[in-house]
Symmetry: C2
């Protein structure tokens, strides 16, 4: 049977004041009223029955996740008491799934990026399931086909095409974020894909690799699946580490008992983790202003205005290239090109006005 686990644990502040401690990026209804989490769920639900879709998130977000995903079964919502990075956000659900169904094949999906077209993603996810169903020892990862030499991403190097699966290839190596020159070389060779951080595997195969490489984690997540009431005791004690660092990279170098395969994802894969990035996702008017919600821009160009406070209006006059965001409890005004720096502003706000506004 096919399962899907959506990892939705982030708590970024780069979209403050839209995202806050209580409402992270993936829960914001920014895309025609849907959140990244809902979009990820919609894609998964085209291949996986709703009662076999799990969501792993921070415990404080559980209530919002339940509200956004009314079809999600209560026992499929796993709330982490503390963040313990991606390995544990996948290993805990893997143990839960494996306990229900020892033959389960599971997808591990993220909810951080905007993906289009969804049809292509779903088609390639189906191919990933097919690979893992055909090959018990496969750890399938997804490689986004790069469209420009992005130096900020990790890459994976593809080897031979997989027999019977024209869009899948063996993986030769994982590489860390390259410098700009190296990124250009990667793009030119056509052999490097962006590491998407999404996977398909048999739950049992993934757990066997954890058993071999991190035996303490293996024992802990098995205990957690058997005794969910011990969550608060077991989860915080887990070693914080990522799937790539703990499993995929060692296995690609010969450790463990599996092998790594990648399926190509020829999709638009947009990081919407900053206002500058969001401004490229939404349509602009004739003056290059991007407006979401009730707002007026007069005599200004290239502004991003997001009004998430119903019953209010935001008005800009004679200003250019700003990001202006209004929520029920905060207003942000800064140059759009500096929106990556909003984190440091959140520090100022928290220092002056308390954590509840940050």
């Amino acid at each position: 049977m096919r399962y899907a686990v959506i990892m939705a644990g982030g708590s970024g502040t780069r979209l403050w004041p839209l995202s806050r401690q209580g409402q992270p990026k993936q829960l914001l209804p920014l895309f025609e009223g849907r959140s990244l989490l809902q979009l990820a769920y919609d894609r998964a639900a085209r291949l996986v029955e709703p009662d076999r879709i799990l969501v792993c998130t921070g415990a404080p977000y559980a209530k919002d996740v339940r509200r956004q995903l009314p079809d999600l079964r209560e026992e499929n919502l796993l709330g982490e008491p503390v963040g313990r990075d991606s390995l544990n956000a996948a290993a805990w659900p893997a143990a839960v799934v494996d306990r229900r169904d020892p033959d389960a094949v599971m997808a591990v999906l993220t909810a951080d990026q905007l993906i289009s077209p969804a049809d292509v993603f779903v088609e390639r996810l189906a191919e990933g399931f097919a690979v893992a169903e055909a090959d018990e020892a496969a750890l399938v990862t997804f490689g986004v086909v790069p469209t420009f030499p992005h130096p900020g991403y990790g890459y994976l190097e593809r080897g031979e095409t997989l027999a019977g699966f024209p869009d899948a290839a063996h993986v030769v190596a994982f590489t860390e974020k390259p410098d700009a020159e190296t990124a250009r070389t990667y793009l030119a060779t056509g052999r490097y894909w962006w590491n998407s951080g999404m996977f398909v595997w048999r739950a049992a195969t993934f757990l066997r690799q954890i058993e071999a490489l991190l035996p303490a984690t293996y024992a802990a997540v098995r205990d957690l699946a058997d005794a969910p009431t011990r969550l608060g005791e077991i989860f915080p004690a887990l070693v914080k580490t990522s799937i790539d660092y703990a499993i995929m990279e060692p296995v690609s170098r010969g450790a463990g008992t599996a092998h790594v395969v990648a399926v190509a994802l020829p999709i638009q894969w947009q990081d919407v983790g900053s206002f500058e990035a969001l401004a490229t996702v939404w349509p602009a008017d004739a003056s290059g202003n991007v407006v979401q919600g009730a707002a007026v821009v007069a005599e200004g160009r290239g502004n991003l205005v997001v009004n998430a406070d119903d019953e209010s209006i935001v008005a800009l006059f004679g200003v250019d290239d700003l990001v202006v965001v209004r929520t029920p409890t905060a207003t942000l005004v800064m140059p759009l090109a500096r929106s990556q720096d909003v984190k440091s502003l959140v520090g100022h706000v928290a220092a002056r006005h308390g954590d509840d506004l940050a």
Copy 2:
């Protein structure tokens, strides 16, 4: 007996979104929690008993005026059904006062400017009362001693000093807004004062001039004082005109039966009708930012931030010389130097989002 009438009828939009159709500039609690109306009342109350202070305002603002001035007697609150300019805002109360007390001496005061020091103002207002008490035929106006050659104000030209009143003088002429060169000449001569639009006179003397120069208005305000229930019928039919144009200027040229006298006001007299003007009234921090309410400015200079929305925070990062205003229903962002143009923005907002937000 001494009376005071505060004219508080304005409805400007140059402080949008702080000022709106429902809450004009003079009612905004911008000065250590007090409004211009409250400050005007406080000054008047140092010379006049509370039950002899009247306020003439637009009928829609009556409720807010009552809330801001708890000592104001109900029958002393005159609500104009429509604006009919300053002559009628003074003539109606004059008829009401004269009916109560035929010997009344009344001050006519504005609530548009920030005045300091209040002690000097009160001392000179007392001198104005004394002049009008000593001379039944005097129409006393107040001339602000200019500190720079302001081309935007009307001026009055002083003649001989009044016997027994060292700070008062006869008025030779009223002049319209001068050009910049003329304004400099005015300042150099020392004989020109800014026309403050504030007055003291016997109510009966003022009414006699109206009787001579605008007999229809005289009959109407007498009727209004006798039959207040006819307000909605009488007031809208009044001719719209100003005190200066209809009375002071003709009388200074020999019309009517009175003569014009001015008392010097050596005060700071600040028009706070635009955000640029407000920014000079409030204290600035070391970076030249002026902040009112809960707000943070990081890496920015010369901004004016007004947060009038409790329970919210406004944050600016890396921007200079902007005005940012947040109220419970609107946010404004524009260059501070262009804040005079906010009126045209309000037109945009009303066109796009309806009058209730403008």
